[in-house]
């Protein structure tokens, strides 16, 4: 890194010098909810508290925390509300199971419909626009 680069890194607002770490921080910024705004991730919010929370993400990364540890840290501090990825527990298992339940139910419905299928022979049915 040249001299100008160093100066920029020093002045830059809460940016980690390591691009890999900064990328992790940015992806966490999109998963953590600004506690003051209406449904905004801290990546998006211009509120002061969001800036503080972004700084906190970087602080934890610099301290060597894993992504899961950082999520747990924020969850402990601000509650489940702060995570856009809901934790899996007694209240949310139905949410996480829902896609599978819907897939299975839909599949059963389609197959039941298919069960009524009659044997068909090819015949000429005009394509769209050809009548």
């Amino acid at each position: 890194m040249n001299l100008v680069g160093l100066v920029i890194a020093a002045l830059a607002p809460h940016v980690l010098a390591d691009p890999g770490q900064e990328a992790r921080a940015q992806s966490l910024d999109r998963e953590i909810r600004c506690v003051q705004c209406q449904n905004e991730p801290i990546a998006q919010s211009t509120a002061d508290i969001a800036a503080d929370m972004r700084a906190l993400v970087r602080e934890r990364i610099a301290a060597g925390d894993s992504d899961a540890e950082i999520r747990a840290f924020f969850r402990e501090r601000y509650g489940d509300f702060v995570l856009f990825r809901p934790p899996m527990d007694g209240r949310t298992w139905l949410l996480w199971a829902a896609p599978f339940i819907l897939l299975a139910g839909g599949l059963a419905a389609v197959l039941a419909l298919g069960g009524r299928r009659v044997s068909v022979s090819p015949d000429l049915i005009p394509e769209e626009g050809e009548r």
Binding site: P13, R33, P87, L94, I125
Partner: protein
């Protein structure tokens, strides 16, 4: 200052709305009874037209009140301002709760008049009952509007100035966004009316489906364009480079879109083959139900918190009552009548029909997942489980794979014939598209160092685009004569389907590339300093203060050196006297590989004149909006194809 003294025009508007309500009731009663006597049906038609004219008049009166800045009207006082440019004063008429509800009613009444005026080949019973149901829908919406969100309510004393000058909302895309969405939402009320009419008659034939199709297309096309406009606005106005956030408000429009998309496809099967009639009816009911639910979610305040809803629950409860009435009636009728409806001809496991069934399966499951994800936090909170958030990580993990599976099968659909299709022949014809997709997959895997999800996404995008083009090419091979000549006589329906499907591929490419490969970086720059970013060099030239018509702004200009040469771009932070938060005007430099997106932040405290600048490179982001536009164009062309067919 413009004329502020209260004017009669507001009372005329209110009176017209009340008249439209009574006429809608009459339309409902006569329409539902009119199947037995032709004269009643004719009367219902005339009444539907009058109700539409009066609703339109009421809405024009409201616009007039906004244009005149008549602050004795509550909705004008809280949502307009004399310093607003004329275009945004007009747009202000539908940019607020009360006005948007009146727009909802007006669109519903106008669609009712169209429905009444163009009977087509429908049997008189089906047609007249659909006109009747549509009248009751309009009446229900007008009841809510007049009783609980009257846009004509007066204020006394009238304030000297309006309070509505949210600078964020003064934007062409955002002015056009609500009417488009509402055309889509309310567009779904017509399939709902037709579905109820079919249930009452106990019959949904191909003529019925033919009457249904244009309305599904109107609704789907308007929803597509409305959502795209909102997303585009979020992208360039909110200043963080995002375009879709799985926000509950976004989901509220995405769910009806998904079901409308399913309906567009299932209605084709019902029209061409007479099959799936009861499923098409169910989709039409659910689609409108979700449109109402969307209105409820956005308008009741329930999304902020269940508690916010509890503070003033009247509006929310009223929408819920309307929703319960509409869905309760519809589902009861459905349970009673649908099983008795004739089951038509079958189809093989590999056929155009079966492909459209899988299409509907995927779209319906995706809708269900979005619905559960959107409502889940509300349910948890209501049962005392505390506050949780369900956001992008959940939806990306669940909805994206469902749509991916759908896209994998999509190109086969058009390639298969009705009733029974030849899968092997379709596979052979699609081989070039498949090869291209595999090459994309391999190249993307290597280039991204084995990031499987984005590589698969890009391959799917290419598969959809190439598959659409292969279908178009195959259709162009038929018949005799030169290619240009064959292209000229190729049915519009083929073009519209291909354009929409290729558009879905284009959108997929953009969405995947933007989500997976975007780069962002926050830097502090002094004037004259530069930074290397996304194979470019971005230099801050200067920062200065400028004065706009009703704001002051800090404007920073940048030079961007890329291999293609140097270009300049500026970004602003605007401060409006009426708004505490500054707004960002981002600088966007588009190029073929994506947008360079620059947002100006604050001056760094103690930074010796340095400014915070956020740089984003959003690869292929323009493809997202281009793809959505192509899908919308496909829908519009398809409408044209139906209109042309009707004339011949």
């Amino acid at each position: 200052m413009e004329g502020r003294e209260p004017a009669m025009i507001v009372e005329i508007g209110a009176f017209a709305a009340v008249l439209a309500f009574t006429l809608s009731i009459a339309q409902g009663v006569l329409g539902l009874m009119g199947s037995r006597r032709e004269s009643r049906a004719e009367a219902a038609t005339a009444i539907a037209q009058a109700a539409a004219a009066l609703s339109l008049l009421a809405f024009l009166c409201l616009i007039a009140a906004f244009v005149r800045s008549d602050f004795s009207v509550a909705s004008v006082a809280s949502n307009s301002h004399t310093e607003k440019p004329l275009a945004y004063r007009i747009a202000g008429a539908w940019g607020n709760h009360e006005g948007s509800m009146l727009l909802w009613c007006t669109v519903s009444a106008c669609f009712g008049a169209f429905l009444a005026s163009y009977r087509g080949e429908q049997s008189s019973g089906l047609w007249s009952r659909a006109v009747g149901v549509q009248g009751l829908v309009t009446a229900g919406a007008l009841t809510y509007t007049l009783l609980l969100s009257n846009p004509f309510a007066r204020l006394d004393p009238a304030p000297m100035q309006g309070a509505g000058l949210n600078p964020l909302l003064q934007d062409p895309a955002l002015a056009a966004h609500p009417p488009m969405l509402y055309l889509g939402y309310v567009g779904l009320s017509v399939p709902f009316s037709l579905a109820l009419a079919a249930l009452i008659e106990g019959r949904a034939d191909q003529a019925w489906a033919r009457a249904l199709r244009p309305w599904t297309l109107v609704a789907w096309t308007c929803l597509t364009l409305g959502i795209a406009l909102g997303s585009y606005w979020a992208y360039y106005e909110l200043g963080w480079g995002g375009w879709w956030f799985w926000d509950p408000v976004e989901n509220a429009s995405f769910m009806p879109w998904l079901l409308a998309c399913a309906l567009v496809h299932s209605a084709i099967v019902t029209e061409r083959r007479g099959s799936l009639a009861s499923w098409t009816i169910l989709l039409a009911i659910l689609g409108f139900g979700l449109a109402l639910l969307g209105t409820f979610l956005v308008r009741s305040g329930v999304l902020t918190s269940v508690h916010a809803f509890a503070i003033d629950p009247r509006r929310g409860i009223a929408v819920l009552v309307l929703l319960a009435l509409a869905l309760g009636t519809a589902f009861s009728l459905y349970a009673w009548r649908a099983p008795k409806m004739a089951q038509p001809s079958g189809f093989a496991a590999i056929s155009r029909e079966s492909m459209l069934v899988w299409n509907n399966f995927g779209l319906a499951v995706a809708t269900g997942v979005v619905l559960i994800g959107t409502l889940y936090p509300l349910v948890v909170e209501a049962f005392g489980g505390g506050l949780i958030s369900v956001g992008p990580p959940f939806f990306n993990m669940t909805v994206a794979p469902i749509l991916a599976a759908l896209f994998l099968f999509l190109p086969f659909g058009p390639m298969l014939t009705w009733r029974i299709g030849d899968f092997r022949a379709a596979l052979t014809r699609l081989a070039p598209a498949g090869l291209l997709a595999f090459m994309t997959l391999a190249a993307a895997l290597v280039l991204t160092q084995w990031r499987a999800a984005p590589a698969l996404g890009l391959a799917l995008g290419v598969w959809l685009i190439a598959g659409g083009l292969v279908y178009l090419w195959a259709r162009l091979q038929r018949g005799e004569g030169a290619l240009v000549r064959k292209a000229a006589v190729l049915p519009l329906a083929v073009w519209s389907m291909s354009i929409a499907h290729v558009g879905a591929g284009v959108l997929t490419l953009g969405a995947v590339a933007e989500t997976a490969f975007r780069v962002e970086r926050a830097v502090a720059l002094r004037p004259g300093e530069g930074v290397a970013f996304a194979s470019r060099r971005v230099t801050l030239l200067q920062v200065g203060e400028i004065e706009g018509p009703n704001y002051s702004a800090t404007r920073a200009s940048f030079r961007v050196d890329a291999s293609g040469g140097a270009r300049t771009v500026s970004a602003e932070r605007r401060f409006f006297q009426t708004s505490p938060m500054p707004t960002t005007e981002v600088g966007i430099l588009p190029s073929f590989d994506g947008d360079l997106y620059i947002a100006l932040g604050e001056e760094v405290r103690g930074g010796g004149g340095a400014w915070t600048v956020r740089l984003y490179h959003n690869p292929l982001v323009h493809l997202i909006f281009l793809g959505a536009l192509m899908m919308g164009a496909g829908g519009a062309l398809s409408l044209g194809a139906l209109a042309r067919r009707r004339r011949t």
